[in-house]
């Protein structure tokens, strides 16, 4: 296999006195689909938030495509990364949030177009065509001039995915993207993720409670428990062959 595109090396994270992550080592390869499962509060979301630079690790390194994300070289030594360094690395990463976080003052087309124009300086005409393409791909081609408040939760989340796709990330992060949705809207969002997983060659990391879905699309499943990766492997490995009791107990809760 090729070099990993993301590598976590002994990453720890504490909030105040509480250590949420207690030494994460993880490789993510280009085009790999990784699902992170585990009980609430086990630190799943924190893992991807650190990669998106929304949370700074307490210790350890995260290497993105050969570059240390949170540290940069200065006068021969490594120092804490500044915003400029973060911006240079962050461009490869996109994220979809649990609560969508669309910009309410913009139409959904403008939601998609702002970053490619402002950040990458791409041509407006091209960005517009690309954005419309992506919005059509997620099934919202007829709503491009609507505002987020006019959409259902599932539609909003699909816009959020189009918005992330327009930036052409090498790594896409999905943070419990169906948790805030009404049950009947979950399916349409999962369909879009399945489509991306099948047709795009970017790496994907999904934090999710949709167990069957995760096991279905993931190349690699991580079971996170009490701040450590307690089990990892292919879906089949994790489900059928794991001896980990807590994992079996966790999985049994999803089986009626």
């Amino acid at each position: 296999m090729a070099e990993p595109i993301v590598r976590y090396q002994d990453v720890h994270k504490s909030f105040g006195d509480v250590e949420v992550l207690k030494g994460i080592d993880l490789d993510i390869y280009p085009a790999e689909k990784v699902a992170i499962i585990g009980p609430s509060g086990s630190g799943k979301t924190t893992i991807i938030r650190m990669l998106m630079t929304l949370e700074e690790p307490t210790s350890g390194d995260i290497i993105v495509d050969g570059t240390n994300l949170w540290k940069m070289e200065k006068n021969g030594g490594l120092v804490e990364a500044n915003e400029k360094h973060l911006r240079s690395v962050r461009g490869d990463i996109g994220m979809v949030f649990q609560h969508f976080n669309l910009f309410p003052h913009m139409t959904i087309l403008e939601n998609c177009m702002t970053a490619p124009i402002r950040v990458k300086g791409e041509d407006k005409q091209e960005v517009e065509e690309h954005s419309i393409q992506m919005l059509e791909r997620v099934g919202l081609g007829d709503k491009i001039h609507n505002y987020p408040s006019q959409l259902s939760g599932g539609q909003k989340q699909r816009v959020a995915m189009a918005r992330a796709l327009v930036m052409r990330p090498k790594i896409m992060l999905f943070d419990e993207v169906t948790s805030a949705l009404d049950p009947e809207l979950v399916g349409e969002v999962l369909e879009v993720i399945r489509d991306i997983a099948k047709n795009d060659d970017m790496a994907m990391v999904l934090v999710t409670h949709e167990m069957d879905f995760a096991l279905d699309i993931a190349d690699k499943v991580l079971f996170l428990d009490e701040g450590v990766i307690a089990e990892q492997g292919t879906a089949a490995d994790v489900i059928e062959h794991s001896q980990n009791e807590r994992l079996q107990e966790f999985l049994s809760r999803f089986r009626g």
Partner: protein, 239 residues
Amino acid sequence: MNGNYWSWERFSEAFPYVLEGLTTTVAVTISTFIFAMIFGFVWLFLRRIPLRPVNWTVTWIMEFIRSTPPIIQLFFMYLAWPVVPYVGVTLSPFACAVIGLGVHFSTYIGEIYRSGIESVGKGQWEASTALNLSLLDKWRHIILPQAIPPTIPMLGNYFIILFKEVPITATISVQGILYMANTFGSQNWAYIEALTIVGLILLVLSYPSAVLIRKLEVKMNTRFDKNAVIKKINKGVTS
């Protein structure tokens, strides 16, 4: 009381006299408000400095300014400030009014700015970061367009409150409507007509403004609302 406490004749005599002060009252109100809007940013930035001692000091100074009556602040600036050695300066009544009331109101306006910015959720910042927007672009395109509209009705309210507060500058001889009414009263030994006119002018100007601002408030509250947006789109189509 001699039965002649109210005279329409004196009323019509006083009216143009008092009205002469209106330009000054309005000029003081507008100048003070502009001063306060600019100075409000100073408080906003000072409070965003992430140093505990700075934050504590700034908060305390703001609290002090807000908890002392503006009239005392005006008296201090106008009468006591000039005799303070080295830093004391004599200011014109107009400058005193603008700076004194301006600083007082800026503490409120700084808080309005802060509440506007805080009304934009953490998720908006995070989404902007995830899209790799620069700090400047985040403020310009994401945060401020959402933070400013809800502050507009609040600023309007403070404008009206300020307008009603400006007559106290008569005490440092700013020649606004109250000052003129007072002068007319003392010259004619009859105050009731002139002071009534002051009340009427304030009412006539501030009541419609208050109604307007209430409408604005409703509009701002529903600004991302479906119907409001549909209206906006329809307007775009017809024009």
